[in-house]
């Protein structure tokens, strides 16, 4: 059976689609690997970001805790300071009053001594000294209150120095850098994921095309196989091959239009002891030999062998047989005496004239060679394959 060009075309398209699908898969697989690597990098950056954020939060809480203590200590100082300042103001006013009364009493005592009743002078002097003592006592209390404020301030400074936020700010900078790296890795991952998805779509599309063409090819292949089987069955029917010999039968179509069927015997179709049936170009049986049967003319069909008139220095063209090998041939005469033209099969005049081999001695030039050796520059000697070749 001749080749199915539609089947060949489908196979070619399927293979082309397969190659394109494979190339697309490779591009997709590369993109997938790059995407996975980018995902790992993004996850790593995320973990760094989370870690940096936790560190920043710890520093923030530490800073807040320190700040609360600072406020508490300095608030306490503030209360002491305000309370003492109020008392100091009041006592200073009282001390000023006692001081003024002391001056007045000493002036009164001096006046009494110099210009009045001198007996009253000690009284006023005593009063002056009382005021002086109260003044000094009040001033002593003011000094104590001032020392108490100063001491509270020293104590606050010692208990709550100024809050240091540098550790938090360093942690925050580390976090900001980690965040930036993560966002950059995330953007790269998203870009590669989009590329991967696009290539996956392309691959899916080509895979679908390949699957469709593969199925189409399989359907056509089944059709061709079925057609070949039908043709094989028709040929075996015409050749009359037994059912038991059909599976291993071998069918060969020759260039001359004949169909050679080999069957039976040992092993496959043309094995030892095989049978041989020949159908001509019209499907007529021209030769039939059973498996293990003798070779010989008894196997040929009784059709009359054809002849064609001679031409030039060549005699009548004849169909004939060499053993069970069909041939067409003619003999030369005159200048071609002793030479033969011959080809395989039973062919017509036109086909024979340009498809034959040429055998015999070189009588014209006595070169000592056979004619096919001295003339066959065209590469003949390919049309006869029978005995004596």
């Amino acid at each position: 059976m001749s080749r199915s060009y539609e089947l060949d075309s489908l196979k070619s398209r399927e293979q082309d689609a397969f190659q394109r699908k494979q190339a697309a898969f490779q591009r997709y697989a590369d993109a997938r690997d790059r995407c996975n690597e980018a995902h790992d990098a993004m996850q790593s950056a995320w973990e760094e970001r989370v870690s940096a954020k936790e560190e920043m939060n710890r520093e923030w809480e530490e800073m807040q805790r320190t700040s609360a203590n600072y406020r508490e200590v300095w608030d306490e100082y503030g209360r002491i300071r305000d309370q003492n300042n109020y008392e100091i103001e009041r006592l200073r006013a009282e001390a000023d009053s006692e001081h003024q009364q002391m001056i007045d009493c000493f002036e009164q005592a001096s006046n009494c001594y110099e210009f009045g009743d001198k007996s009253e002078a000690p009284y006023w002097s005593s009063q002056g000294h009382d005021h002086k003592d109260r003044r000094d006592s009040i001033n002593e209390e003011v000094s104590r209150l001032c020392r108490e404020v100063k001491s509270a301030r020293q104590n606050a400074k010692w208990r709550a120095p100024k809050t240091d936020s540098s550790a938090f700010h360093r942690a925050k900078e580390v976090f900001e850098r980690a965040k930036s790296r993560h966002e950059s890795a995330q953007a790269e991952f998203k870009r590669l994921k989009a590329e991967r998805d696009r290539l996956k779509d392309t691959f899916d599309s080509l895979q679908a095309e390949h699957t469709r063409l593969k199925e189409e090819f399989q359907r056509k292949l089944e059709e061709v196989k079925l057609a070949k089987k039908r043709e094989r069955d028709r040929t075996l029917d015409k050749a009359g091959v037994r059912w038991s010999e059909r599976d291993d039968a071998k069918i060969v179509k020759k260039a001359d239009g004949t169909t050679q069927v080999y069957h039976g015997g040992l092993g496959k179709g043309d094995g030892l002891g095989h049978g041989h049936t020949v159908l001509d170009q019209f499907g007529n049986k021209t030769y039939d030999r059973d498996a293990f049967a003798e070779h010989g003319h008894q196997n040929y069909a009784d059709d009359p062998l054809k002849t064609y008139p001679g031409k030039g220095q060549w005699g009548e063209l004849r169909h004939g047989w060499i053993d069970d090998h069909a041939v067409t041939w003619c003999e030369g005469f005159g200048v071609n005496a002793g030479q033969t033209l011959i080809c395989d099969g039973h062919v017509d005049r036109t086909y024979f004239d340009s498809h034959h081999d040429h055998y015999g001695p070189d009588t014209k030039y006595r070169s000592g060679g056979r004619i096919e050796d001295v003339t066959d520059s065209l590469g003949r000697k390919k049309y006869y394959s029978g005995p004596g070749k």
């Binding site: 031409k311 060549w314 200048v335 024979f352």
Partner: protein, 95 residues
Amino acid sequence: MNNEKVISDIKKIYEKYILKDVSSFCVDDYNDFEKEIWALKEKYQLEDSPFLLLPDPAKDADFEMMNASSDGLVEPSEKDKSKYLEKMRISYNEL
């Protein structure tokens, strides 16, 4: 001389079948030329092939024409005919 007579006949056969224009030359002329040259063997009782009396260019031309005309059975192309006639004309001039 017998040989001179043979050569004279060969020339006549050339003139009859070979010394032609390409357009009027056909495969039958080739076959007839071969046939009449070969007939000289019997006419003059030659021991060897009369083709051996033809100059070398004729031998080359003959082999080429055997292939081109498929042993004298097929009409050769104009190009093959032209090459053949040219070589044969040279061989004729050498006779």
